[in-house]
Amino acid sequence: MKIIFIILILSSTYLWAQTDWVRWGKADYSYQQKDPSFERNYSIDSQNLGRAALKSFADAYWILISDVDGDNCSFSPTCSNFFVQSVEKTNIVQGTLMFFDRFTRDMDIFGKLGQYPRVPDGHYYDPISLYTLNPRKIKYIPPPAVINNE
């Protein structure tokens, strides 16, 4: 048993030997758990009345429901963030349509696996740029990939 164990250790050392084509550097690690509410921008743009009204709804949802309920959306960015960002990047009408489409996709509780790439915390990566109807902005990432969207 001991011998088998030693052979296993030695063989794994040789099989997965270091092949460092890139020099190792110092890596800064943070073990702090991320709280999505810290990444939220609660500010309201007073210059645009329509956006201010929609942002107020989003802020109210974040403060009263989402922050209390916890990190439950399976997507990154979350559906509410997606809504805010899509309105900011397009316009109120297109942003609202993008949000309804996203919400429909979020309803699918079985089919998401294998359809989207993931971010390191396990959420499905589904950025706004894919849905603005501008083909040049679409950067396709195949589903098994884990990407860093920071």
Partner: protein, 288 residues
């Protein structure tokens, strides 16, 4: 038994202990030994360290093979722009000049710099028949990865060996008529039957949920209006309209994502094919 093992261990330790006298006579950092160590690292595919040794060697001696192997090492590490820079620096009197010309074009191709690739190919035409005959296949392939108009099929396929013709013809036909989905068709289908556009773009689960959300809320709206619950009727009606319009919009977006996916798969297939053929260039056997 234990004692015997201990004696044997001690005996071998003393008998074969390190003898420093011969080591003193070997200069481990002589140019030749540095090159030998660099060659060893190169063959172990430890390219980064091999480059370090080779560059150290080149400060003491000049060697065409080593210069070429540095460029090749960068290429193996997928640092194509650096590899191109090193291949371009190989002098015309080097025995590797012709190979470097071809490898330079391969690196430019792999880096996706098709403008520079074609410029180099124009220089090769008529000047170096070996480089021309080896890289014309790559030149033709560059049309499959850019949006430039494709050459005529016969002219395009003429550059490839018989065993690759079927596969290359498939690539050519795909590029000529990519099996894309129309965003307009997807939107119209979803406008007629909610979710149909998502089915068209192979997003079946999304299509089913789009249908359920649109039709479900429309039914709730109808039912509440029927029961004279007007507030709820308008509320569900608004949601039904939102999900319906979102489903039409989402179908068009889904078609665009589908098109991006098939183009991504096409490029991946093409690169795998070229990798398997070593980009139609000869392989170098520097290692046994």
């Amino acid at each position: 038994m234990k004692n015997l093992i201990i004696y044997l261990f001690l005996l071998t330790s003393f008998s074969f202990s390190q003898n420093k006298i011969p080591v003193r006579n070997i200069n481990l950092f002589s140019p030749l030994n540095i090159k030998i160590f660099g060659d060893y690292l190169f063959c172990q595919k430890d390219y980064l360290r091999a480059i370090g040794e080779y560059q150290h060697y080149l400060t003491m001696a000049s060697n065409d093979t080593v210069e070429f192997k540095i460029a090749l090492a960068y290429s193996e590490m997928s640092d194509f722009s650096k590899a191109a820079e090193k291949f371009a620096a190989i002098r015309s009197n080097s025995p590797f000049y012709s190979d470097a010309e071809m490898e330079l074009m391969k690196s430019l191709f792999q880096a996706g710099d098709f403008f520079e690739f074609r410029k180099n190919f124009q220089n090769v035409i008529g000047k170096n028949s070996t480089a021309f005959s080896k890289t014309i296949s790559l030149y033709n392939f560059s049309f499959l990865l850019t949006n430039n108009p494709l050459p005529a099929e016969q002219e395009f396929l003429g550059a490839f060996p018989k065993e690759d013709l079927a596969k290359v013809k498939n690539f050519y036909e795909w590029k000529e008529n990519p099996p894309e989905k129309s965003p307009v068709t997807a939107a119209i289908l979803s406008a007629i039957i909610p979710g149909a556009g998502k089915f068209y773009t192979h997003k079946y689960a999304d299509g089913i949920w789009a249908f359920i959300a649109s039709v479900g809320f429309a039914y709730l709206s109808y039912d509440n209006f029927h029961a004279k619950h007007y507030f709820r009727g308008w509320l569900f009606g608004g949601l039904a309209a939102g999900f319906y319009a979102g489903n039409v919009y989402g179908a068009a977006a889904s078609a665009q994502i589908y098109n991006a996916k098939i183009h991504f798969d096409f490029v991946s297939d093409l690169k795998s094919f070229l990798d398997a053929r070593n980009y139609f260039l000869p392989k170098f056997k520097f290692c046994k």
